[in-house]
């Protein structure tokens, strides 16, 4: 009996992996061969523009806090002149994209899952199919594109805001002159850092939307089912973002070595 249960569990996992892969492959096929400009722009506005306030707030306070913590650690070693470089590097390479994605997963992944979940439980997804429209084409592909375009864009502006917040702490708290801080920031704008800072939000944007869509489309069981699917989706997206963050960091360090 336990063996049978384990096999059924394994089969379920494999089926889910297959369904997820099929959904992604079909999404990209539609994005290439049946691109929907209107829906894509609509989703970019909804997912991206609508998330500006929370992403900015998160990056603002991350920048403030990081500058504060680093200034406390670095001051005893007389390394405050490196504050700009350290803050910018941490924000561009890691904190900016990860924080923006995690904050957005609470908003975007939850929103997508509950929206698609409600559509699934009220037969609206089935209605699309019956009308000869593939839900992946109409609903999923534009969202995935929006995630991959808007998260890098938001990350760039969020990073800038974090660095500016760091400057405030550097000047007022650690008494680092602004030109010194900015020269540190400039020295952090290296190719490895910039690639890191753009690749991560691109991948995270894909993850948080794809996971939301996947759980949303599979929702069953009315309002309770929608709640369950939404919780699962947000948790999964957050975990996958953290896993992907480590893997991308490791990959890029392997490519470029220990350069900053």
């Amino acid at each position: 009996m336990p063996v049978r249960r384990a096999l059924l569990f394994l089969a379920g996992v494999l089926m889910s992996v297959q369904d997820f892969t099929m959904m992604i492959v079909r999404s990209f096929r539609y994005l290439i061969f049946h691109f929907r400009m209107r829906e894509s722009l609509f989703e970019m506005d909804r997912l991206g523009v609508g998330s500006i306030p929370i992403v900015f707030l998160a990056n603002l306070f991350a920048g403030l806090d990081m500058a504060l913590q680093f200034s406390v650690v670095m001051a005893p070693y007389g390394a405050s002149n490196l504050l700009g470089r350290v803050v910018a590097t941490s924000i561009i390479r890691d904190m900016g994209p990860v924080l923006a994605s995690l904050v957005m997963s609470a908003r975007v992944t939850a929103g997508i899952t509950s929206e698609l979940g409600m559509m699934a439980t009220t037969q609206q997804i089935e209605a699309l199919l019956v009308m000869g429209v593939d839900p992946v084409d109409r609903l999923i592909a534009p969202k995935i594109l929006a995630g991959m375009v808007m998260l890098p864009a938001l990350s760039v502006v969020g990073d800038l805001l974090g660095v500016l917040a760091g400057l405030m702490v550097a000047q007022l708290g650690a008494h680092v002159p602004a030109p010194l801080y900015w020269s540190g920031v400039r020295s952090a704008l290296t190719l490895p850092n910039l690639v890191n800072g753009m690749l991560k939000p691109f991948v995270f944007g894909f993850i948080l939307v794809a996971v939301g869509c996947f759980y949303g489309l599979r929702t069953t069981g009315g309002a309770q089912g929608v709640g369950r699917a939404t919780t699962k989706a947000v948790v999964s997206a957050a975990i996958w973002i953290l896993i992907a963050n480590f893997m991308i960091s490791k990959f890029l360090i392997d490519v470029w070595g220990w350069k900053l």
């Binding site: 009220t122 037969q123 609206q124 209605a127 199919l129 019956v130 009308m131 000869g132 429209v133 109409r138």
Partner: protein
């Protein structure tokens, strides 16, 4: 014509349809009757190709639904209208947009032409004045009417499928929905399947009737044949309804 040949459907170990045969002649309305959970809606899903039988085959105008690829299925469904139990209207769109959806997706009609057709369809179901309303603002009966208008948007729908179209409606609204279904059938000469457990409504819209019990078809025929059936389940069903 829609034909099901020895169709068996199972969810895991639970058999929902057990080798059923069914034939709906072109231009006729077949009403499928039975208890809740007896597999009535499953038949519609098989015809739509959203559910694949374990064995047997489903033919729609000699096209075997189970053998169609995903793209072919999407094309096949464009000539099909389906009215869901609760309407399944897109709740983020207005009534007009719901009806226009098929036209936007599958035609290159100008906005003016689309609006003209949407108004005509809404007029047909008596809801032209609700064109800008959201589905959440409509009553149950109005939602079913919009769903019927949306299903009719496909020009010349060859098949119309109705899943419990009058469930939860008051007798007056139920009758008006049934009258509307009859008008749709006359207008398009479509082949229809109606799933219901309400015998009164079934008699209003049906040409042929099929009873399902324990995943099997127990009787098929005209109203007279059904009413003279000696099957105890059918006799009980008829007597309870009257």
């Amino acid at each position: 014509m829609i034909r099901l040949e020895k169709v068996t459907v199972a969810y895991g170990e639970q058999v929902v349809l057990d080798g059923i045969d069914l034939e709906v002649p072109t231009g006729k309305t077949m009403v499928i009757l039975g208890e809740s959970g007896s597999g009535k809606t499953t038949i519609l899903k098989c015809v739509l190709g959203t559910l694949h039988p374990v064995s047997g085959r489903v033919l729609a105008n000699d096209l075997e639904v189970g053998k169609l690829t995903d793209e072919e299925l999407l094309r096949f469904r464009r000539r099909m209208g389906m009215v869901f139990q609760e309407g399944a209207l897109f709740d983020s769109m207005t009534v007009g947009e719901n009806v226009a959806f098929w036209l936007w997706e599958h035609t290159t009609l100008s906005d003016d032409k689309v609006e003209e057709r949407v108004r005509m369809l809404l007029q047909f179901v008596g809801l032209e004045s609700s064109i800008d309303q959201m589905p959440s603002d409509l009553s149950g009966g109005m939602r079913r009417r919009v769903a019927i208008a949306r299903a009719m948007a496909a020009e010349d729908p060859a098949f119309m499928l109705y899943d419990e179209p009058t469930t939860g409606l008051d007798p007056f609204t139920s009758k008006s929905i049934c009258d509307l279904m009859r008008r749709v059938q006359r207008e398009f000469k479509s082949t229809n399947i109606v799933v219901t457990h309400d015998l009164t409504d079934a008699y209003r819209v049906g040409d042929l009737f099929t009873f399902i019990k324990d995943a099997k078809v127990i009787a098929t025929g005209t109203r007279q044949e059904i009413e003279h059936s000696s099957d105890p389940f059918i006799r009980t069903f008829i007597s309870l309804d009257s």
